[in-house]
Symmetry: D2
Subunit: 379 residues, 4 copies
Amino acid sequence: MVGGGEGAFIGNVHRIAARLDDEWSLVAGALSSDAARARSSAAALRLDPERSYTDFTEMARREAERHRVSGDGIDAVAIVTPNHLHAPVAHAFLDAGIDVICDKPLALTLDEGRLLATKARDTGRFFGVTYNYSGYPMVRRARALVRDGRLGALRAIQVEYAQDWLGEAIEAAGHKQAAWRTDPALSGHAGCLGDIGTHAYHLACFVTGLTARSVSAELSTFVAGRQVDDHVQAMLRFDHGVRGTLWASQVASGAANGLRLRVHGDRASLEFDQQRPDELLLRDQGGDETRLRRGRTPAGPTEHLRLPGGHPEGFIEAFAQLYRDAAQVIRARRSGDAAPAAAADLSTVDDGVRGLAFVAATLRSSAASGQWTPIEADR
Amino acid sequence: MVGGGEGAFIGNVHRIAARLDDEWSLVAGALSSDAARARSSAAALRLDPERSYTDFTEMARREAERHRVSGDGIDAVAIVTPNHLHAPVAHAFLDAGIDVICDKPLALTLDEGRLLATKARDTGRFFGVTYNYSGYPMVRRARALVRDGRLGALRAIQVEYAQDWLGEAIEAAGHKQAAWRTDPALSGHAGCLGDIGTHAYHLACFVTGLTARSVSAELSTFVAGRQVDDHVQAMLRFDHGVRGTLWASQVASGAANGLRLRVHGDRASLEFDQQRPDELLLRDQGGDETRLRRGRTPAGPTEHLRLPGGHPEGFIEAFAQLYRDAAQVIRARRSGDAAPAAAADLSTVDDGVRGLAFVAATLRSSAASGQWTPIEADR
Amino acid sequence: MVGGGEGAFIGNVHRIAARLDDEWSLVAGALSSDAARARSSAAALRLDPERSYTDFTEMARREAERHRVSGDGIDAVAIVTPNHLHAPVAHAFLDAGIDVICDKPLALTLDEGRLLATKARDTGRFFGVTYNYSGYPMVRRARALVRDGRLGALRAIQVEYAQDWLGEAIEAAGHKQAAWRTDPALSGHAGCLGDIGTHAYHLACFVTGLTARSVSAELSTFVAGRQVDDHVQAMLRFDHGVRGTLWASQVASGAANGLRLRVHGDRASLEFDQQRPDELLLRDQGGDETRLRRGRTPAGPTEHLRLPGGHPEGFIEAFAQLYRDAAQVIRARRSGDAAPAAAADLSTVDDGVRGLAFVAATLRSSAASGQWTPIEADR
Amino acid sequence: MVGGGEGAFIGNVHRIAARLDDEWSLVAGALSSDAARARSSAAALRLDPERSYTDFTEMARREAERHRVSGDGIDAVAIVTPNHLHAPVAHAFLDAGIDVICDKPLALTLDEGRLLATKARDTGRFFGVTYNYSGYPMVRRARALVRDGRLGALRAIQVEYAQDWLGEAIEAAGHKQAAWRTDPALSGHAGCLGDIGTHAYHLACFVTGLTARSVSAELSTFVAGRQVDDHVQAMLRFDHGVRGTLWASQVASGAANGLRLRVHGDRASLEFDQQRPDELLLRDQGGDETRLRRGRTPAGPTEHLRLPGGHPEGFIEAFAQLYRDAAQVIRARRSGDAAPAAAADLSTVDDGVRGLAFVAATLRSSAASGQWTPIEADR
């Protein structure tokens, strides 16, 4: 693991989630670029001091060497640093021939992301990106329902992600998470857009199997002194004439972590709210509403993995799903087996690039007074 | 009443709502332009045959004459015809010196609406427009909460109105309501936009006390062969930097009559869903969510009028509120009293014009590829 | 109408509901036993002073006479007095040969109720009892689902009715409604049990088509100084081994008017909450949950009478349904036609007696320390 | 760990939950009494084969010896066997001087439970019972709200636990979990009552701080051929005149794991539904309803341990809380420190005995036709 030293939020989530299903254990880390903090963090996690590094390039080199020499180097690196380091760290490990699991966003810019995708392709390494909300069983079920035609021909998508934790200028008051997330140097030029807008966009694409072709957007910054946007509203044109709206806000009073997706087809629509992740609403054209619940029949393949229906699962389990899927895929690659079904649901470096293309186009559209702006196709 | 003959939906609602609080009774009508249908409709409602007309201009003239001669002409006319007749009928009654209560939209075009507003001003008649959703007690409470600063400085508005009854081409299959609502000659060039988008827009303005200055919109028509839009997505710029999104659809599978408003301020946000009209959600910045319920303390002035809390009220009562308010206002005008409090909550011809300005700008923006288009200020 | 003078809650509801569907109009009344209040109430409602009475026996006599002489006596009397007058008034009108629509409870005691049932049978008059919650379209749908076997063989019923308006000793503070409802002389020995427990019991029987055979109950009085129970908990044994629990409380903090029914069969269960009366939840054994909504397909016969789905209906409409049904039934009786379908859903004097039998058995069981006590079968 | 071999449900939950917060790791086990299954289960979990036992008494003896000899014996045993082994295993480890964490129920009978409580007291060992639902942060908050008087003087409690997984005779069709849970020899004479009724009872006591003094109950068995009850309805008399109802069913069609508690005081009431564990509803007498959400202010002490508000936690985290609390308490005992705050929220052998006393009294009451039966006080 690179990043995730003491006090980090998402690093700890990755660590707990990765081992939840006994697929991964943490054996090495560059947990902090601060030597003392790296050391104490490693000690708290009972890492072998030999494998606690302060420099991620050294870690890449030494773990690759271990592989060659004793065959016990890490199976993959998990990158959980602030955003600006995602790409440099990923490059280092790809160069060392080590598989990568990287938090989103892939990089600070679309160009940077593309370079990484090229490198991943060229090195042939596994490269997963942890769009964690795609790990929820009911999100998987939603995707399957769309794919199987249960909704009919798609017409419109509404996706939103509302939080209120940046409703005040807490970055100016010493809140660490807020500070790096609102600092363009560490987080990129997209604030709310990059932090949660991309999750919303990915969720919409993941469930529908569609990609947006162009965007008309307006970014706003409501909190005085803030250097990045904290509020995003956008309209989207997806493949096949599907229309969409996206709203993301970190100043939406009273919202905790309100990621919500609605997809409308000509036969039915569905709704997912990540604050009630064990449920999925399905509404028939002209008809009634069914609340599908995880673990009840007819259930999808990931719904019975851990707990029966009615025993609530949450954020950790969704994250764990990604790590479980990654382990299966990596195992299959190494043994030369065909890719497991899970491979189809894993987000990769290409999805990461798509997220960056969405961010770039949205920034440009907003700067151009909402002009419809193409989201650059993959090259 | 003009319009509302047998089989009409909204005419019957007006009739029942108007008398609910014993403020109005139906004594005359031009219920249909078809003489036989006018007659049979009038008979079914036990109207005096003398006061059942087939021609609304005749009705205006004769009822005005009654006023002069015997003092028992109608107190006001309720206009519940298809949209294209709203303005002609209103002109006729204003010209005859009779107060008007008109269903929305005011007219088919902004210019037509402005002429009507001028006429209303010049004649000095009362002119109410029945934006019925503003009659819900909890919408009134929402408006009071915003006005009293409970939400703090407003930042963003999300409003949506989703239905699915036009999800298929039922107008081609002989569905009468669908036929006139999708016929530009009878309903105007705005389809879903005019029919329900305007309700959504009005609700947002009514609750927040704001007006949108410009709009960036995209209209779509999903059902083949349909001549008007059936799906609207738009971004709005309101007064004081408040941002907004509006989504209206009549092809949203599974949606019955989903008018929903969310308003975010820097202290709190609120949410109203007209399908649960006795409730209002209030969410505090960084805090919890309160479900305010009609008729519980602290309650607003219109909440205890008919039924105690927990005894559900609905659509009819909201409509009735407008008729009750109109009666009070008209009574005060005639007796020379100061306008009652209810006057502040009644929508008038000027609100009707604002709705038409919104429609006109939205049509223009969509035609101009979503360009931000000013919503013309009142003249 | 007998009762329902100025300031009365339920009388006004009856009046508005009765005319909602244009089936009834109020033409005569003994609105109060206080002559001045009777007069002013009648005037406010524009009753013919000739037909405003202070004595209900006089009203019965004079209206019967009108029938004989001029054929324009009332079609039926609506009894909306406090409970202790229900039976005497009903007797008077039955004796005069006039059909009766009576608020629940039928009488103060089971014996009194039986006398009334006998009288109704002997006189051959129509006798409806307004268990208003059975008028909701989704309650009708629930009943049809059970009857049609959608739930399979029934196993268990949970019914509850929670309010908080008697959470404090407001009867001692001059609250009129509270005063007569907690006074055994006016309301009977059952407090909460008679006022709302009977509604809960009726709803359970109405939807399931079952009757309870015995009850084990515990009544409590939480508010000091109160002379009747304000809290009821009971277990029930229904026909065919079906088990049930009933909880009713008027001291349940935070509850407005929480009447809620759940019925479990071996194939599915259903849930109805009168505070969301346009919905009905259906849950399949081992499966998911469907939220049935009024006016969506497949819909029951009473769902489309007034407003389309998504346009909320409420308490008034449910009450109106009973008056509409009664009008149909009375019309058919007079014309010698077969009873209309509505007749099957109307509660009659026999249902009223069943409610009193439930009350009597529950009082006895509670007094006998919860002993299982038979609910006397109809004689 | 004793029990929890391959295919076990709750054993795996204990294992994952115990390590979630890095307080415990699994180092030894008697995972199955079947030697081969014990071995393969241990191997799958990478247990040291030296510390994989087939006989729990041997495990107790050898681990105690390890303690004496090398100081690396287990810190505590987790007992996750079928019910009939809970007591024998606990005795073995207490005798060996090892702290115990035991799944509920403590034992098959009240007498057996009391012997165990005596043994625990005499040996001075720590003895925790995993009533897991008391680990939810919002259950802890509920308990604090009651304790702090937010609800006022308590009046009534409604608790229910509804499942449908035993709605059919799946025990006869080879379903293992169902088989042992409906076999009196393995599970005790109480079926649904012991399995989930006790959870409901414990939750009510835990949140309110009260104990029931007597019970009037009716057990039913709806599925033909079943040897134990599958449906429980009961009335309860708690301390201080508080009244209660309890309903538990494993044949409630459509219910997944519906554990729900409502507590009514004279100032407010609260409601907790374990299927939405991050929420708690608080309703004020005569007022509105607040939805308290985990991790929002004002928050309780356990709400911020793992994930911020809006990031759903679930069943695993609640279980983990008990293991975290137990670790803290055990650590404090060993270091001679004062008991940490967590100690107050941990359920012990005495709570286990209280649960058995409830079961015993409920069985007796049901057998005695619902007679109010005292729940024996602790001795």
